[in-house]
């Protein structure tokens, strides 16, 4: 069941409607099938009966001929001469009848007809070889077989349930009842024929037989035939009206048949009187033969009518079948058309609503709103149709109305939400900025507080140090006053010593000047020596080269050249050493001169300083003696300041703690504000998916 539901959920509405229509069309189709099958069955039955009536048509004649053959055979055997005149004709008729039966045979009647034709061939082939009794027996068997054939054909026609009962009754008349009456007439005729053949009058036993046959005919068979025929006529009248060939042709033939048979019966019953004992059997034979002929013609006519009726029935059945088919197809087609129209009527607005809601779902609220405002759904929403009449609104119209209202509400809601979002976002941003500013201020304040605290601690320490220093300064000041008075006397001795120092320095500077000049002279001499040594080296090199070129001839010369070069090299090295020492000495002298000059300047400065110090010390002594009481006042103020600085430091510590707490609170607040900002941002993002018509 769940799977069926799932499967149904996957189908569109149009498909569901079509499915329902198919489900409803199915019984119609089955019903149609059965109706058609029934018609077909009736038609095939009728066709089989038409085939069967071929046997019915020939069987009364066949029976009569068979009787005649039998009678003529018995007549021939008893010596009658004129009996063979009509025999060949009769035999030919029997041949035709058997051939007709064989042509019309089917599965059911096949055996019987084969047997019948077998008997007939046996009888024909026998000729005069067979005894009369044997021929009579074969003949009788043929009669039996024919009767059986007719009954089989009639039994096979199961039309008893059919509404058109007249065919059944007519068949009853044409078949068994007519056979019975013909058999009775034939029996009566054969009794009379035997008597005629023997050339005697009818005796009492013959009459009794004739009476029995005629009585059965008139009292039993004819009323049944009449009843059946009347019923058949009534039904025919009811079904086909009063003016049919059946109603015209059959009753007169039947009346004639009844009349002839009744005449025979009357003649038989009259001849039973003792007064009319002498009755010619030939008259009975003739009467019976006449009645039989009438029966044969009745059978042929009624069979023809029956066939016509059956053909009519087939035609009617076919027409009814076609009508049923056409009507059913028309109904199905009509239903299909209605289904298509209804499906379109349902799915078309639904699809548009689906498009609309899809737009809303994907955020195109503005487009959806515009479409609604543009009157796309006016035909569904409005309460009046085109003619100004109030219209009944179906579920889809109600749905569209609801969607329309919903879209308008949604649009309004979204507009409000977006406005609110924007406001809240702005507020959140401002709040966050404000909180950041406040936090920064608090941080700065905390930093300032820390600085102030540190500074106050430094002040405290400095004041403490200062206080201690002041105490020692006070003491030192009083000591200095005492010492200074002694120092002034010593300074005068120092000044006279410095003057002596200045004079000796000036003498030293002059000595260095003279040394510098002499050293410059030595430098010139050294340069000259170096040049000479260089030339000597060159000379010795060339001499050595020349000596080498001269080879052994200049052995002593090369030694001299080598010695000369060695001497020159030593000279050059010595000159270089002297030059180096001279240069170092010159450097030393220059440094000595400059140091003497700076020494003289310093000495001069010392002399000036000593003079200033001497006058300053006097003032110091005078001032120091005044300082003592002032130092005391400063010292006490310092103590007070020190205490104040300690208190400031403690207060600053408290302030710093409070600031850090404030900072923590502000941080939390900022987080909250940022959360709010983020949340509003997300909300805006969500709402931003929807375009709105404002």
């Amino acid at each position: 069941m769940e799977q069926i539901n799932k499967w149904l959920a996957r189908l569109k509405i149009a498909h569901k409607l079509i499915l329902s229509s198919v489900v409803f069309a199915l019984p119609i189709a089955i019903l149609l099938y059965y109706v058609t099958a029934q018609y077909n069955r009736g038609i095939s039955t009728c066709q089989r009966e038409i085939a069967g009536t071929a046997a019915l048509e020939v069987s009364p004649g066949l029976l009569r001929d068979l009787w005649e053959v039998q009678s003529r055979a018995s007549l021939a055997n008893s010596g009658a001469t004129n009996s063979s005149t009509g025999l060949a004709e009769t035999r030919k008729r029997i041949d035709d009848a058997v051939a007709t039966l064989q042509r019309g045979e089917d599965l059911i009647t096949e055996n019987l007809i084969d047997r019948l034709s077998g008997f007939w061939r046996q009888l024909e082939a026998s000729g005069s070889t067979m005894t009369l009794a044997e021929q009579a027996a074969l003949d009788h068997q043929m009669v039996e077989t024919t009767t059986q054939l007719v009954l089989v054909i009639l039994d096979d026609s199961s039309l008893i349930l059919d509404s058109e009962l007249h065919t059944y009754y007519l068949m009853n008349v044409t078949g068994p009842l007519l056979l019975q009456s013909q058999a009775a007439l034939a029996e009566a005729g054969s009794v009379a024929l035997k008597a005629k053949a023997q050339g005697r009058r009818l005796d009492a036993r013959d009459l009794t037989q004739l009476q029995a046959q005629c009585g059965a005919l008139v009292n039993t068979i004819f009323p049944r035939m009449r009843y059946s025929l009347e019923t058949a006529l009534r039904e025919d009248k009811r079904l086909h009206g009063t003016d049919t060939s059946f109603q015209k042709n059959v009753p007169p033939l039947f009346e004639r048949y009844v009349e002839l048979a009744t005449q025979l019966s009357l003649a038989v019953s009259n001849s039973s009187e003792p007064a009319s004992a002498a009755i010619d059997p030939g008259r009975f034979v003739q009467m019976a033969s006449n009645a039989e002929d009438a029966g044969v013609s009745l059978g042929e006519t009624s069979t023809k009518e029956l066939r016509a009726l059956l053909s009519k029935r087939i035609a009617e059945d076919r027409r009814s079948r076609s009508e049923a088919l056409l009507m059913s197809l028309f109904c199905v087609g009509l239903a299909a058309g209605v289904v298509v129209i209804v499906t379109g009527n349902i799915t078309r607005p639904l699809n548009r609503v689906v498009n609309l809601t899809t737009d809303i779902a994907t955020g195109k609220v503005k487009e959806a709103f515009d479409r609604l405002k543009g009157g796309e759904f006016r035909e569904f929403i409005s309460d009046e149709d085109g003619g100004g009449h109030a219209r009944t609104r179906d579920e889809i119209c109600k749905l569209i109305g609801s969607v329309s209202t919903m879209t308008e509400s949604l649009n309004g809601l979204l507009v409000k939400v977006i406005q609110a979002c924007n406001q809240v976002a702005g507020s959140a941003t401002q709040m966050a900025a404000a909180v950041r500013e406040v936090e920064a201020s608090v941080s700065e304040q905390a930093a300032s507080t820390n600085q102030v605290s540190a500074t106050s601690k430094e002040i405290y320490a400095t004041v403490q140090d200062l206080a201690r220093t002041m105490a020692s300064v006070t003491k030192m000041a009083s000591d200095a006053a005492n010492t200074a008075s002694g120092g002034v006397n010593n300074l005068n001795g120092i000044r006279s010593a410095i003057d002596g120092l200045i004079r000796s320095s000036e003498a030293m500077a002059r000595t260095f000047e003279s040394i510098n000049e002499k050293t410059a002279n030595i430098d010139k001499v050294i340069t000259t020596i170096t040049k000479v040594a260089n030339r000597t080296n060159l000379l010795s090199l060339n001499a050595a080269i020349e000596a080498e070129k001269a080879g052994g001839k200049a052995g002593g010369f090369s030694v001299v050249a080598l010695e000369m070069r060695r001497l020159a090299d030593q000279t050059a090295v010595a000159a270089l050493d002297i030059e180096k020492q001279i240069r170092e000495m010159q450097q030393t002298v220059r440094e000595g001169v400059s140091s003497v000059e700076s020494h003289a300047q310093q000495t001069q400065a010392s002399s000036t300083a000593v003079t200033e110090l001497s006058s300053g010390l006097g003032q110091v002594i005078e001032g120091t003696t005044k300082l003592g009481p002032q130092f005391e006042a400063v010292n006490s103020a310092m103590q007070m300041q020190s205490q104040g600085a300690g208190q400031i430091a403690e207060a600053m510590v408290n302030l710093r703690e409070a600031a850090s707490q404030t900072k923590a609170s502000l941080a939390e607040f900022r987080e909250v504000a940022e959360d709010l900002h983020n949340a509003v941002g997300e909300l805006q993002g969500e709402v931003g998916r929807f375009s709105t018509a404002s």
Binding site: N534, L538, L541, N542, A544, I545, E548
Partner: protein
């Protein structure tokens, strides 16, 4: 055998004194424009103009410093065609000659394409002296530049 030794780039090199005509003081050289860097220019020697090659520039890539010990070695430069010309070579620390035995000469083992003039080594007082082959000193282009064929002597 007597070698005149000098220094270039801190290393000691030697020239056979048989190829040396004279050792002269550091000359005043007139530069030749667009000549290779090691061609110091033209100098006057005994009234003649001779081309001058800076050996420090040639071997070490730095020009010789103008010191007292930096001198002009005038050599007899033998050309492949049999001619010979006086050629000036400027060398630093050219103040000494050394006697070598020919038997202790070691031929050149490492051939350097850019320095074809190296001609084996000698040992003297614990130091290596690389001998120069005068005929390989100049590449053919510079030789043809300095001593054109038309200048027959």
């Amino acid at each position: 055998m007597l070698l005149l030794i000098f220094q270039a780039g801190g290393q000691t090199y030697g020239l056979n004194t048989r190829e040396v005509i004279e050792v002269a003081p550091y000359p005043v050289c007139t530069p030749l424009p667009h000549a290779p860097a090691y061609v110091a220019g033209l100098a006057t020697w005994r009234g003649r103009t001779v081309p001058v090659i800076d050996l420090s520039a040639l071997i070490d890539g730095t020009p010789a410093r103008p010191l007292l010990s930096t001198r002009l070695l005038v050599v007899e430069y033998a050309m492949p065609d049999g001619r010979s010309h006086p050629l000036g070579l400027v060398a630093e620390k050219a103040v000494e000659t050394i006697v070598f035995e020919q038997a202790r000469h070691e031929p050149q083992k490492v051939k350097i394409p850019d320095a074809p003039y190296l001609n084996g080594t000698e040992q003297h007082a614990g130091r290596l002296v690389q001998r120069l082959a005068l005929d390989e000193l100049l590449p053919a282009s510079v030789r043809d530049l300095l001593f054109p064929e038309s200048e027959a002597e």
